[in-house]
């Protein structure tokens, strides 16, 4: 096995590309969970955003319209989730899982209806690569990070932006307050349910955008369940990243690069007849994430979980 072929610049470019949609969704989920709402509908929001982005791009011929549509549908699904979880206060785990099932059905149905069964598969044009002048010639980092398409740069900028929104603005303070102690927040006139609604809209927008990045920025085709479980991994990564958007993003990168790495090891090791079963490589990103998680937890004693996560807020306690 030639390791220089495996661990080259291409590995990191590939890993970043694989990681980005998951990372965006995970950062959005971190935001919503910091507000105290567990959103297991993430996979559905990504998928809905992906189809909307694809269809809008396809029919308008504009990637910008596609991205807006993806974000729009993400926000819409965020609103549905907020209505169920915050307004109606139904059980958050169930309404999330059911939201995914619902969107999987609707997108498969809509794709079949929107694009008939005649002719070849519909596709949208790929985005141009934009070299960032100067930065692109930085050795190592340049070709990996600064020779990408515009959606990649927007994604990269969004992660610190969400972190700033959460940590450095009064809205962010309100979000963290309603996630930790809604009663205390309420006592200082923070409108708990409104803040949670807004947090879910942010989360929906991020997930919808993640879907758009996946289809417009990367694969340019749509297929049933094109998100392939990224939303679930994203939920896991939020816990991994201790609800901090920046660490969550780092976790997604770790996962994506490990995934790209295992594909390359597979390619180099002889496929289905290699001495080590390729399933071992396929399991690598999951095992490594778990191992890092265990080590990190052993190192840190304190739980970072928002205290009010998953608990609806009621002003007068009835029961």
């Amino acid at each position: 096995m030639n390791w220089s072929d495996i661990v080259g610049l291409g590995l990191f470019a590939s890993g970043l590309q694989l990681a980005m949609p998951t990372a965006l969704a995970a950062v959005g989920e971190a935001f919503s969970e910091r507000a105290g709402v567990l959103n297991l509908g993430l996979e559905g929001m990504m998928l809905g955003g992906a189809l909307a982005a694809f269809a809008a791009d396809y029919h308008s011929g504009s990637a910008a319209v596609g991205v807006l549509a993806g974000v729009g549908v993400g926000v819409l699904l965020g609103a549905l989730k907020a209505f169920l979880s915050v307004t109606l206060k139904t059980e958050q785990v169930i309404n999330g899982i059911v939201l995914v099932i619902f969107v999987q059905g609707v997108t498969a149905f809509a794709y079949e209806r929107l694009f008939g069964s005649a002719g070849t598969q519909p596709e949208i044009p790929a985005l141009q690569t934009v070299r960032v002048p100067g930065l692109a010639s930085v050795p190592w980092v340049g070709p990996v990070v600064f020779e990408q398409n515009v959606l990649f740069y927007v994604s990269l900028a969004l992660v610190p932006a969400v972190w700033l929104l959460l940590q450095r603005t009064s809205f962010g303070l309100a979000v963290r307050a309603v996630g930790e102690s809604p009663a205390a927040a309420d006592s200082v006139a923070v409108r708990v349910d409104l803040v949670r609604w807004l947090a879910l809209l942010v989360c929906g927008a991020m997930a919808g955008f993640a879907g758009a990045v996946l289809v417009i920025g990367d694969v340019t085709l749509f297929g049933t369940n094109v998100t392939a479980g990224r939303g679930w991994v994203a939920v896991a990564l939020v816990i991994f990243g201790r609800w901090n958007p920046l660490i969550v993003f780092g976790g997604a990168l770790l996962f994506g690069i490990t995934d790209a790495l295992q594909l390359r090891i597979q390619a180099a090791s002889g496929g289905s007849n290699s001495a080590v079963p390729f399933e071992v490589f396929q399991a690598l990103p999951y095992v490594l994430t778990l191992a890092v998680m265990v080590l990190a937890t052993v190192a840190q004693r304190r739980s970072a979980q928002p205290a009010a996560l998953g608990i609806p807020f009621r002003k007068e306690v009835i029961e």
Binding site: G10, S117, V219, R264
Partner: protein, 332 residues
């Protein structure tokens, strides 16, 4: 005294039963016709650009010709219990032939236990018996021909085979592709990679890039998601490859050498005629290369394919069709 409570759910269930009683009635029954009543069960959408689309188009053609009455379910559940329940429902509704278009061998036999008289056909080869048949998906045969062309195209002497899973179909296809290339030039190396997902386009793309990092420059692919991913990778790196099941030549006109195209029309027609003539019994429908062809892409710069390769491909194709050459079928 603690008391159990599930009133909401139980009363919801009660309401359901009441609603059911209100709705209960006889089911509509279809009128008997000379046309064969065919039910097509598809695990994917009718426009997946792949297996399901090809099957759907073939069945629609038979319907247009007035040979069959077609009903179908797309995006059907893929687990054995769910798939067999769908097959059984069609059988109970009076379907004269159920075509279960996936590797649903267990589901087909489970349904046949309850409906032994109804012809049930599943895809991909395997056990047959009673009224259960299967039809082959011999993609390995055109894959061998593609390998012959790949040998003429590759500059690096490495060809890549990418697949969702190491199922027999994909395995045989990869081996045949590599052996086809090696039949021209024994020095050619084959590399393979498995995505582990049927739908994951992005991961398929990066699996293709991983193979490219091992110098592969001509590809074959198995699985809908990976196939879409390969197209994206081919365009990004300007490499060559072969389309999968549907005609994908138009999706990357400059990079697709051709597509391995599955035509189910002759297969479905043969089965339907057997049913119509009362000659149907469980058997393995295998039309070989007649059903799975290599369809070249006229827009791919033919100059990049040496004349020698094209000639050899033609010659091997005719000996396969004549039965004088058998493409190696390796599934493990």
């Amino acid at each position: 005294m603690r008391r159990l409570r599930v009133p909401a759910l139980l009363s919801a269930a009660a309401a359901l039963v009441v609603a059911g009683a209100a709705l209960a009635g006889s089911q509509g029954s279809g009128s008997a016709q000379a046309k064969v009543k065919v039910a097509l069960v598809l695990p994917c959408p009718t426009n997946d650009g792949s297996w399901c689309q090809q099957a759907f188009v073939a069945a629609k053609q038979l319907q247009k010709e007035g040979l069959i009455d077609l009903s179908y379910t797309s995006n059907a559940p893929q687990d054995t219990a769910g798939a067999s329940q769908v097959i059984e429902r069609y059988a109970a509704n009076g379907a004269q032939l159920v075509i279960a278009d996936s590797a649903w061998q267990d589901a087909a036999f489970a349904a046949a236990k309850k409906f032994p008289k109804v012809p049930i056909v599943y895809a991909g080869g395997g056990k047959v018996g009673g009224n259960v048949s299967t039809f082959e998906e011999p993609i390995y045969q055109p894959a061998y021909l593609a390998g012959i062309l790949a040998a003429g195209i590759t500059k690096t002497k490495v060809v890549g085979a990418l697949a969702a899973f190491d199922i027999p179909l994909c395995h045989a296809q990869a081996v045949a592709f590599i052996k086809g290339a090696q039949s021209v030039d024994a020095g050619i190396k084959g590399v393979t990679s498995y995505v582990g997902d049927w739908n994951d386009v992005a991961k398929g793309k990066n699996a293709a890039l991983a193979l490219a990092s091992q110098k592969a420059d001509v590809f074959t692919v198995c699985g809908g998601g990976p196939a879409s991913g390969l197209i994206s990778a081919l365009k990004e790196k300007n490499l060559s490859g072969f389309g999968y099941v549907g005609n994908q030549n138009g999706l990357a006109p400059k990079q697709m050498v051709g597509s391995l195209v599955y035509n189910l029309y002759p297969i479905f027609k043969a089965i339907v005629q057997d049913v119509a003539n009362g000659k149907y019994k469980g058997k393995d429908y295998d039309l070989g290369l007649q059903s799975f062809k290599l369809m070249l892409n006229p827009k791919y710069s033919v100059a990049r394919i040496p004349q020698k390769s094209l000639a050899k491909e033609k010659q091997v194709a005719s000996s396969i069709l004549a039965g004088s050459f058998k493409v190696p079928y390796v599934i493990k």
